[in-house]
Symmetry: C2
């Protein structure tokens, strides 16, 4: 592939100066006369010169302005918003996001990490705390700052910002147990690896046990965690377990799908069955009912992650871990204490 691009040398020649002088002008480094600057800039404009940043990074033997950001999927709006927050913040400081979607697979994440590191990024932001052994080795040897987001972890590879998903699941389970529910259900999606959603489920199960209740069925579907998945997942769940009293979903979208399934089947909520989501997404607050859920400051996670990374890149002191917490939203899709007990 032949280049027909203009190089700095050509600009310099056209302006009648050396490469170094032209370079200084372009970087506005000082040490040249006003007359020289004008000559050089005139040629830059005339020739339409665009610097080759590859060469710049390479020559300076430094890192690029890329930041690799890996999330599981974009179809899940919470991750899309996480990425949105990160990219805005990074972009404001002259960085470019190189996107990675792990699809909840450690080998995909590993391959992506290897590729991104080969571009000499300024840093990496990756979702989740479980990584393949080789990925961990690459990250440690990479020599760049790494922020693990989403699932809080007090001893991260490097830095970490997120929340304790186990605790959030536990909170929901304890809350439901406290309302008198005893027969719990769960609907989520299945992945090969332990992720934040599995931690929530684990917390939920533990809380059920502690409350003397049981999670009679955990349905894990091989699908994306969206509205329709919640809809048909609920159908499957209730077909086999008619006596469930309350269902906790992997996220609000699935819960809303589940709610709609119940409604269409003539089940009244919360009289006949309780529904609880996770995430407290905008859609939850615009439904005719208030969904019981767990509110999570997901936008803040993205912002903090970018801030922590930037601080590290610029060698400024910064916190290395940050737990953003969560909040249980009681809602109206579970019964009040004492009802039906």
């Amino acid at each position: 592939m032949k280049k027909n691009k203009i190089s700095l040398a050509e600009v310099a020649r056209a302006a009648g100066v050396s490469k170094m002088t032209a370079s200084r002008v372009l970087r506005d480094e000082g040490g040249f006369s006003e007359k020289t600057r004008n000559k050089v800039m005139a040629e830059v404009d005339r020739l339409g010169y665009l610097p080759n940043r590859l060469a710049t990074v390479f020559a300076g033997d430094k890192k690029s302005t890329f930041v690799g950001v890996s999330i599981p999927e974009l179809g899940n709006e919470i991750f899309a918003q996480l990425l949105d927050g990160i990219d805005r913040k990074l972009g404001a400081f002259g960085h470019q996001t190189v996107l990675g979607m792990s699809e909840h697979a450690l080998d995909k994440e590993e391959a992506w990490i290897e590729t991104v590191l080969s571009w000499q990024p300024a840093g990496l932001i990756i979702t989740g705390r479980s990584h393949s052994p080789r990925a961990i080795q690459l990250l440690k040897a990479g020599g760049v700052p790494v922020v693990e987001i989403w699932d809080f972890n007090s001893s991260p590879l490097d830095m970490c910002v997120g929340l304790n998903h186990f605790d959030s699941g536990y909170s929901m389970g304890r809350y439901l147990g406290g309302l008198g529910y005893r027969k719990f259900g769960y609907v989520g999606t299945a992945h090969d690896i332990a992720n934040a959603a599995s931690s929530r489920l684990a917390g939920y199960i533990k809380a059920a046990q502690d409350a003397g209740a049981t999670v009679e069925k955990q349905l894990l579907l091989k699908d994306v965690p969206g509205f329709y998945t919640g809809f048909y997942g609920t159908e499957q769940l209730l077909a086999a377990h008619r006596d469930l009293e309350v269902v906790f979903y992997q996220n609000d979208n699935m819960a809303i799908g589940g709610y709609e399934y119940c409604r269409r089947k003539g089940l009244e909520i919360p009289r006949d069955i309780g529904i609880a989501g996770w995430g407290d997404l905008p859609i939850a607050s615009i439904q005719p009912y208030r969904l019981t859920s767990i509110a999570v400051p997901h936008l803040r996670i993205g912002q903090y992650a970018a801030e922590m990374l930037l601080a590290q890149v610029n060698q400024q002191p910064a916190k290395r871990t940050r737990d953003v917490g969560f909040k249980l939203i009681p809602g109206a899709t579970v019964r009040l204490y004492g009802d039906n007990v």
Copy 2:
């Protein structure tokens, strides 16, 4: 910033061969003995060598494997899904997505284009058909394939895939006029530039005129096009225009927010007012009502865009423009023909 990275030269030295031989082994280019390969690979593993792709691209004087993908915002799920489709396809072919968010601002897009081009990308995918003059100049001089997506355009800068937004707005307007509605409203969001949503609005207005109806009020909010924006936008709209018969929204999320506002105010739909969205998003099909909307094959747009770009990068013949069309979904949030007339 000092490097402590292992270079190819070091691997070669450790293996007792020349840089070139090591390079050939790593690229699996052939022209070396099995014994040599083993020696080299052993050192690669032992030293944990990671190639510097910056140098590779630079030395070979070629393009990188980056593809710049620019969308207006990620908070809008339709763009997030577009990006999802694009990145999956590109990733499967060894490319990395460099993200850009224009935030509907031409100057941001222009700055991003300049930066991305300086990284010698294999190609660019950008949303929308309006760009700053300098952006257009950069794209033309860039020497890389460019796909404009979303708003179909029969004479694009290079390639284009999308749909005719004006026509989709016109279709909705004509449909509503045909149902007997005469007093139209519109709620959307405001931007400095003409985008796809403004084309839809323009088509809607034209259809209203052609049908002898009028768009009494177009409310353009300075906000993101989400549920809550639709909710309070409808409040504002109806406060000033009580006699509107039907409201078309910029997208389904806003329409759902609007529906909920009406419901909470005791308005019955479609008896008291008609509601129409755009996009036919998953959330629309899981509501208790069937939202009147326009279905758009947005996932296909992402796929096609990536495919067209890849074909161009690999110098294979491919279509340069593609109109994916749209489909009107009648729904139950507007009255049937003859009702209330």
